[in-house]
Symmetry: C2
Subunit: 217 residues, 2 copies
DNA sequence: GCTCCTTTACCGACCAGTCGGTACAATTGT
DNA sequence: ACAATTGTACCGACTGGTCGGTAAAGGAGC
């Protein structure tokens, strides 16, 4: 892929992380990149096309750095969970906390009025939750190995939902972190997630019952 | 306050819930309200002024319906927590799940480039977390009453952070619900919150230790 | 000479906000 | 009592400016 195209994507991802998709104008991008409009439309067919490429590019980074390097590392699942949370906090410590999560920002801004973006972002969340789900299953399996082999009592669908909840918790942490402009919100959330996973694990180990939704629906 | 002004605010809050602040144009509002521009600028000095009024109006509703009627009800704290979660799910079941949380939407969209909006929305979250904090303290107090009077081991600052985390969890639930366009995401999150609060309560009761951030920072 | 890459000039649509003017009720002067 | 004045609610054409997007032509390398 062309260097210039990559550069445009990089610059756009920074701008869009700061100001959102709608509020990032082509002129902002052209100015930052030091190029003309014609050049932009040589590489991209529309702003929408650019947005799509930016999401893909950010996901590539996210996928490589967090999902593969950290979550697929050969360590035990407990360590990988902690590594993930540490990686996230470290990542946001490097950037300004006021930026929040690119995917979460885009999801809230665009889910309602662009189906393509919505699905693409949903896939990001699903990929992430999928990795966490796998990790939770591993944790459960290693816990069983030490005691008993009765894995069947753990509802796989429940684990899937639980892993989605963890993603949602992190996104909520990003949201409040951005609004408070305070990294501590996110740090607290990672602590709560660890606590929750431990409590969840323990409950399954001891009672085998589902956490479900205790209040009636 | 003038009826017309109230009507403009109501219509605007619906439009902004759907499309966000930036993407809601004055023409959209004027068309829906069936009024001219002159009338709008008779009641509001700017779009920013309107946005501010809409946030206030939504908070009034939220404050009255959830924070006062539900969270300040004379029931025991456990019931009030469940009532809150039920109320939230019921509220979003009535609307389309694709709208998400108005405050969360606005917070992500505007926190970065409008300090006034940012602080106003932060206050909304703080009010909410404050009520939850109070509720958690009550829960702890009633648990102590049955067993022992040693309340001091519960760090008040930790409870404050924990209640903020609950708000963040809900906002994360709203975010993913909006992206997935599926109410179930939110329902799962309310279940997880109940589970978490119970686990948190139990841990404090049994060990008295803090949940903190177990991984090193 | 042909194909990329790039620039610049330009388009119509739309944006928030302004302005001159209208309709009509309330208030005031006599 | 009635006319003159003032104030309030409201309209829609218009402003300057920005938006995403297009078109045509210059220049570089093969």
């Amino acid at each position: 892929m062309s260097t210039k195209r990559r550069e445009i994507i990089k610059i756009s991802s920074l701008l869009m992380s700061d100001k959102g998709y709608i509020d990032t104008s082509l002129n902002d991008i052209l100015e930052q990149a030091g190029i003309g409009k014609g050049q932009f439309y040589h590489y991209f067919s529309s702003k929408h096309d650019l947005g799509s490429a930016v999401i893909d590019d950010c996901f590539d980074f996210f996928n490589k750095k967090l999902l593969e390097e950290v979550l697929d590392s050969p360590k035990d699942p407990e360590s990988r969970l902690e590594d993930m949370l540490d990686w996230i906090v470290a990542f946001h410590r490097r950037r300004t906390p006021g930026r929040g999560c690119f995917f979460g920002n885009m999801a809230l801004e665009l889910s309602a009025h662009d189906e393509l973006f919505r699905v693409r972002l949903k896939n990001v969340f699903e990929s992430w939750a999928g990795k966490i789900e796998k990790l939770l299953h591993e944790m459960a399996a290693s816990a069983d190995a030490g005691q008993r082999a009765d894995v069947s009592r753990r509802d796989p669908d429940e684990v899937k939902k639980f892993s989605r909840n963890i993603v949602a918790m992190l996104e909520g942490g990003f949201l409040l972190m951005k609004n408070y402009q305070d990294l501590e919100i996110l740090e607290e959330m990672t602590g709560t997630i660890l606590f929750l996973v431990n409590a969840y694990k323990r409950k399954n180990d001891i009672t085998g019952e589902k956490h479900g939704t205790p209040h009636s629906n």
